[in-house]
């Protein structure tokens, strides 16, 4: 445990040092607004057929979808590949989403709920509709926090590379998945996100996933995000665990 903490701290300090230079101020790209993915990655980030989902009525079956993973291949280490298969078999209950837990990064980005990006002088805040999750991305060149070693949503430090917002995310726990198909990671997960506006109502989202305990090499997922352009669009609430309590209560009546 102590050794692991020391290693994580070492990584944190090194990673923080490289983020020290960045542009700031009035000329930064405007990513503000309400955005949402439009794909089936929430079900499975890889190519997949339409299929039933165990325990759900047919109308809630899994829609077929093209994957969002570069090359469609996730480079699992052999034991991790077995774990993924086991996760898939147990996905109805083993998926942390089934317990309404915070879904982590990047998963929350492509769940079927909007999120709002709000920019300030020294940070970017993302408000997610799912589980009223929030995220602060520090843009002041500060290093990763030593206090957030074991978190669901990670510790986010951002910088601008040209028109791209690059966010370095570390300090994850090992309890979130990438999708409902059992794709997973360990607490060594390191995510680098890239948000690039490439249209008035569209941006490209890319996440590089590195986890030396689970994968043989870093890999990428990529997808467009679309602006929720409805004039009355706003972030509302999806209170998963409250609905779980209400469902249990309704069942007992």
């Amino acid at each position: 445990m102590r050794k692991q903490l020391a290693i994580v701290l070492g990584v944190v300090i090194v990673a923080g040092g490289t983020a020290a230079t960045q542009q700031q101020g009035r000329s930064t790209p405007d990513l503000q607004g309400i955005w949402q993915a439009m794909n089936t990655a929430a079900w499975d980030i890889q190519d997949h057929s339409g299929q039933r989902f165990p325990g759900l009525p047919a109308r809630f079956a899994v829609p077929a979808g093209a994957g969002v993973v570069d090359g469609n291949e996730i480079p699992y280490q052999p034991s991790a590949r077995e774990q993924k298969a086991e996760n898939f078999r147990n996905r109805v209950t083993a998926d942390p989403e089934a317990s309404c837990y915070l879904p982590g990064i990047p998963r929350i980005t492509y769940m079927p709920f909007p999120f709002q990006i709000v920019q300030f002088s020294d940070r970017i805040v993302i408000l997610y509709e799912y589980l009223h999750a929030t995220r602060e991305i520090y843009m002041d060149g500060s290093p990763h926090s030593e206090l957030a070693l074991d978190s669901w949503m990670g510790d986010s430090r951002g910088r601008w590379e040209g028109n791209t917002l690059v966010v370095d995310v570390t300090s994850f726990n090992d309890r979130t998945w990438f999708d409902r198909a059992g794709n997973f990671h360990s607490d060594q997960l390191h995510v680098v996100e890239r948000y690039t506006r490439d249209g008035a109502d569209q941006m490209m989202y890319e996440a590089t996933i590195d986890d030396p305990k689970v994968f043989t090499r870093p890999w990428k997922m990529r997808m467009p995000l679309y602006r929720r352009a409805e004039p009355n669009a706003q972030i509302l609430e999806f209170e998963c665990y409250a609905y779980a309590r209400d469902t249990a209560e309704a069942g007992s009546r």
Binding site: Y101, L102, E136, E239
Partner: protein, 295 residues
């Protein structure tokens, strides 16, 4: 090298472990340096008087600058009315400055509902539900305020909740949309941020004592800087379904001046174990009430 890191790590662990202590110290020192007393009934007129002469710092677009970390009135989450120190409570003064008796002006049925709430329902915050407005502003937690030209964002460490307060004049959504946190719309009146809150789902309480409002509740909050480190916070609650007249709470938000302070993730539900025990004892999940029960 690794010894040094371990030293850093254990120092940090101590920091995390005693996270509450610096807050309490911060509260005490802020109180000592503040020119208006902490007790709501004295703070309220004193702060309103100071607001007349204080010139607040401004954001680049010329609005009063509320940005930073703040803390409300933690004991109020036990009970917003005056309450004694007991085995369960730290005790505290009433936050209510109007009416003058410091009591919530309930309709008779609603007074009975408060008793029922205490006797039969899981306190909604125990289940990690959003605290709602106004409770979010005084739960024992850190509050972060950020502003830009289009509005104000308030982040609460407690259960990672938030409020987005547009100040661009847009109207509230249709009343069929109901929210734990309500819907907030802001506007500036001189140096005061006025926030109109509607679209409540009526499932949040004011406190652990079962004090409640319905989905008909309409809140108007007023935030005014009265010195560099104090916000006068005032909220008037109008709920014709539950109260005999509108009433008002007021208290200070004190600035947390700890250098380098940042909110940490409070994954409330993910570690929550008390609700199942309470349900096992026969308590129910509070569904909200809209008016007198048909009995």
């Amino acid at each position: 090298m690794s010894t040094r890191l371990l030293l850093i790590a254990s120092t940090l662990a101590l920091w995390v472990g005693f996270g509450v202590a610096p807050d309490a110290q911060e509260d005490r020192s802020a109180r000592a340096q503040a020119s208006c007393p902490q007790a709501p009934v004295q703070f309220h007129p004193c702060a309103l008087e100071k607001a007349k002469t204080f010139t607040p710092p401004r954001t680049p677009d010329g609005k009063p600058d509320f940005q930073g970390f703040w803390r409300g009135q933690p004991a109020a989450t036990e009970n917003i009315e005056e309450h004694p120190k007991t085995d369960d409570d730290d005790g505290g003064r009433s936050l209510i400055v109007d009416p003058a008796d410091g009591r919530i002006p309930y309709q008779p049925w609603a007074l009975q509902q408060v008793r029922d709430n205490r006797a039969h329902y899981v306190e909604p915050n125990a289940a990690c539900f959003p605290s709602g407005v106004p409770r979010s502003m005084y739960v024992p937690t850190q509050i972060e305020i950020r502003q830009n030209a289009s509005g104000v964002v308030i982040l609460f460490e407690r259960a990672h909740t938030s409020r987005l307060i547009p100040t661009d004049g847009r109207a509230h959504p249709d009343s069929r949309i109901k929210l734990w946190q309500g819907d907030s719309r802001g506007r500036w009146e001189g140096n005061t941020l006025v926030i109109d809150v509607t679209n409540q789902n009526g499932r949040a309480w004011f406190d652990q004592a079962g004090h409640f409002y319905t989905e008909a509740a309409h809140m108007v909050e007023r935030l005014t800087l009265v010195d560099p480190n104090t916000i006068h916070y005032q909220v008037t609650i109008d709920d014709p379904a539950a109260f005999t007249k509108p009433w008002t709470m007021a208290f200070p938000l004190r600035r947390n001046r700890q250098p380098g302070f940042a909110l940490l993730e409070e994954a409330c539900h993910e570690g929550e174990r008390s609700t199942d025990r309470l349900l096992g004892l026969g308590f129910k999940i509070y569904p909200g009430v809209t008016g007198p029960p048909n009995r």
